[in-house]
């Protein structure tokens, strides 16, 4: 993973299901502090997490219609990042210079991706599997990739929920893991790794097929065990 710089400049930063219409969340990656939001027209957007007015984190803000509103003095930003409305000056059309920097952001393959590279080529087609959950791990992305690459994955041993796991394949974007559950069920987990900082990452995970509640719980508990294993061996 992360070898071909042209395509892998896209970073998975959330599950599509994890960012509902009207949702705002904070994303940190490679020293960047960002706010990710989804308009009510379902489009996704990523902006610098600093309101140009007085620097409030825009991830504390809220969405009305297709605008991100700053929680502090209510400045409203449209989908291009341009300030569209200032409540304290209702007659004023904000000048074009009033805008918050944006990053390219797409909803693709069941995940929300951003890139720091304005010339990044479009992502290739990939299946939009339903999201399972995003799991934070206090380990660097490199170490997680190395651990998954080594194939030494933990198992869980519960008589119904226990899972044994093996890596099926890894691509530039994600890693597919086969889970064999104690009940005889199987599932395929797609794990996309997002670097948060030198010590922290997020695993955005999906299941490739519709699954029962029990199977999702088994996979989710296995992810807790994977996180604990990665943190214990880092």
């Amino acid at each position: 993973m992360n070898t071909a710089a042209d395509i892998t400049s896209w970073l998975p930063v959330a599950l599509s299901d994890g960012l509902p219409d009207g949702g705002v969340m904070r994303v940190q990656t490679a020293g960047h502090d960002l706010a990710l939001w989804r308009a009510h027209d379902h489009s996704v957007h990523c902006v610098d997490n600093r309101c140009p007015h007085r620097g409030m984190r825009l991830s504390f803000g809220f969405v009305r219609g297709n605008r991100l509103n700053c929680i502090y003095h209510g400045w409203q930003y449209g989908e291009t990042g341009a300030c569209a409305y200032i409540p304290a000056h209702p007659e004023l059309t904000p000048p074009e210079s009033l805008c918050v920097p944006t990053l390219p952001c797409v909803d693709h393959g069941g995940r929300v991706w951003i890139t720091l590279d304005p010339d990044a080529t479009a992502l290739p087609a990939m299946p939009a599997h339903p999201g399972l959950r995003s799991v934070a791990v206090n380990v660097s992305q490199d170490r997680i990739q190395a651990a998954l690459g080594s194939g030494a994955l933990p198992s869980t041993t519960h008589p119904q929920r226990g899972c044994s796991a093996r890596v099926l394949d890894t691509s530039a974007f994600d890693c597919r893991i086969a889970l064999d559950v104690a009940t005889g069920d199987t599932a395929t987990l797609v794990v996309s790794i997002q670097s948060v900082s030198a010590e922290r990452s997020q695993l955005h995970t999906q299941l490739t097929a519709a699954a029962s509640v029990e199977l999702k719980v088994a996979a989710s508990r296995w992810l807790d065990a994977l996180r604990d294993h990665l943190e214990a061996t880092a």
Binding site: R64, Y85, R133
Partner: protein, 218 residues
């Protein structure tokens, strides 16, 4: 006979009671106790009401209750006509309510303690306290993720209970103690669902949802 709450506005434990009363649409007289900096909870008159010197305290006629979890149980059983806030339909559900009421104490001892450290300079091993706080939030996160798989938005089922009220304040106030919500998407979703409840009230550090308010934009 009427309800009377001894209250401190910045206390998450007191807010549990205020919030639940508001959600029940139940009137209650309130006496503000100057916990900080006045230490009025340690004054002889207050110690006559609660010898333990803690807030909140709820009185209802001759009854005096001195623990937020006990107060939530009492209010639910006595004043919730819907019967949904403290369902005791079966043994497991009653036990789960107890589990989350106890878990709420774990949150106040960790996440809540970190907040007291940051806000009031309460001495403690802040790194260990924050680590324990993150561990508690991970537990909550895993459970709420699994509830999501079941199509359930709250800690017990798809309707809110006193378990949610007990756990909500300190989970929501975690950033005041340097414990960000960034790593806990299921917890964030649950916090929003609680703030969306009809008659929800705020406390300093916990705001209502602004996207629900009237839009001032012409």
């Amino acid at each position: 006979m009427s309800l009377h709450l001894y209250d401190y506005v910045l206390s998450g434990n007191c807010y549990k009671v205020r919030l639940f009363l508001a959600l029940l649409n139940q009137h209650c007289d309130v006496t503000a106790v100057d916990f900080f900096p006045g230490e009025a909870h340690l004054s002889p008159t207050f110690l006559e009401i609660n010898p333990a010197g803690t807030l909140p305290v709820l009185t209802d006629g001759d009854l005096t209750l001195c623990d937020s979890a006990a107060i939530l149980v009492y209010l639910a059983q006595k004043y919730d006509n819907s019967g949904t806030w403290h369902p005791s339909t079966d043994a497991a559900t009653s036990a789960w309510i107890q589990f989350w009421l106890a878990f709420a104490s774990k949150l106040s001892d960790t996440v809540g303690q970190a907040r007291l450290h940051d806000m009031l300079n309460l001495p403690c091993d802040i790194d260990a306290t924050r680590t324990a706080g993150h561990r508690a939030l991970r537990e909550l996160e895993s459970h709420l993720s699994e509830q999501g798989f079941r199509g359930h938005r709250f800690l017990i089922g798809d309707t809110p209970t006193i378990a949610d009220i007990a756990c909500f304040p300190y989970a929501a106030l975690a950033p005041d103690g340097g414990i960000e919500h960034d790593d806990y998407p299921a917890v964030r979703r649950w916090l929003v669902d609680i703030r969306r409840l009809p008659r929800f009230i705020e406390m300093p550090g916990i705001h209502r949802l602004h996207d629900q308010a009237d839009d001032p934009t012409p």
